[in-house]
Subunit: 147 residues, 2 copies
DNA sequence: GCTTCATGTAACTTCATATGTTACGATTCG
DNA sequence: CGAATCGTAACATATGAAGTTACATGAAGC
């Protein structure tokens, strides 16, 4: 199954932007992500609607984070992307007449509902600042390993 | 994203088989599920490999459960289907050189890993017998509502 | 103003994959 | 032998993320 990697993408982009002074163009971000600038604009546009970033046109234009790193959570980003489905496994029919299928759906909803609640809770706790801190740690470690 | 509904399908099929004396044909199961008999054979074939069901050809042939209902767990069925991915959200790149992407992957792996562990634990606890019991309860309730 | 650099966005293509369908061979029962 | 049934390959369809092309819009600098 093809997985939605937009959350991964925007996190990657936002952290690069956080490490970078001034604006970054769609082209530069696309290079960081190994993708196409139009894809960047499309995806970042969703974050702009939530006021997390802004963009400017023309020379010296590009993208910039407008929110506090320690205020932006994975949950918010997931919402900004339109709350894509977490799970790749689902029902065959949403509102079945058949009682057998109802029992099956109930059992699956139970398990997946619990897992989703856990994910949402975790997502609400993790901020961009947390990721930036982890990145900085990895950066120090790599540097130390070189010396 | 298109979700894999095979787990839902096999549960539905197995419960119908459990309620039914003797073998059920792929055609009959396909009608229960609202799908095609070839899809049924394809999917049930995976369960046969694990010894959960068997099939006979010719007239009076069809499918039959060979395992104990209270021994078969959702976990086993998920395994029999080849352990399809639980999540529809993933990394953009599996083993990135970029430290930013490594930090992103680590954070996502953390959250999704925990959710997956929870799901596997739940799946290991739920048996076909549990579902059959829940179905019977729904059946009684519908009957009571009619009277 | 003109040129250049950048975003905004529509339209289209590509790719992956679950699901559905057709076709036909193999096996079993009566 | 003939009908019923599974086994399986090959092909078709559908969906949605991701990538691409094309062009319009707007801003900065000369």
């Amino acid at each position: 199954m093809k997985r939605d990697s937009r959350l991964s993408s925007v996190l990657h982009a936002l952290l690069h932007m956080a490490e970078h002074d001034g604006r970054m163009t769609s082209d530069a971000l696309a290079q960081c992500l190994g993708t196409n600038p139009v894809v960047v604009r499309r995806t970042m546009g969703l974050l702009r609607k939530q006021g997390l970033v802004d963009s400017d046109r023309g020379p010296s234009g590009g993208w910039r984070i407008t929110a506090d790193l320690d205020k932006v959570t994975l949950r918010q980003l997931h919402e900004a992307l339109g709350e894509p489905a977490f799970f790749a496994i689902g029902h065959r029919q949403e509102t079945p007449e058949c009682l057998v299928e109802q029992a099956v759906n109930a059992a699956l909803d139970d398990a997946f509902g619990e897992a989703e609640a856990l994910l949402l809770k975790r997502f609400a706790h993790v901020t961009l600042a947390d990721l930036a801190k982890d990145f900085a740690r990895r950066h120090r470690e790599r540097k130390a390993a070189k010396d």
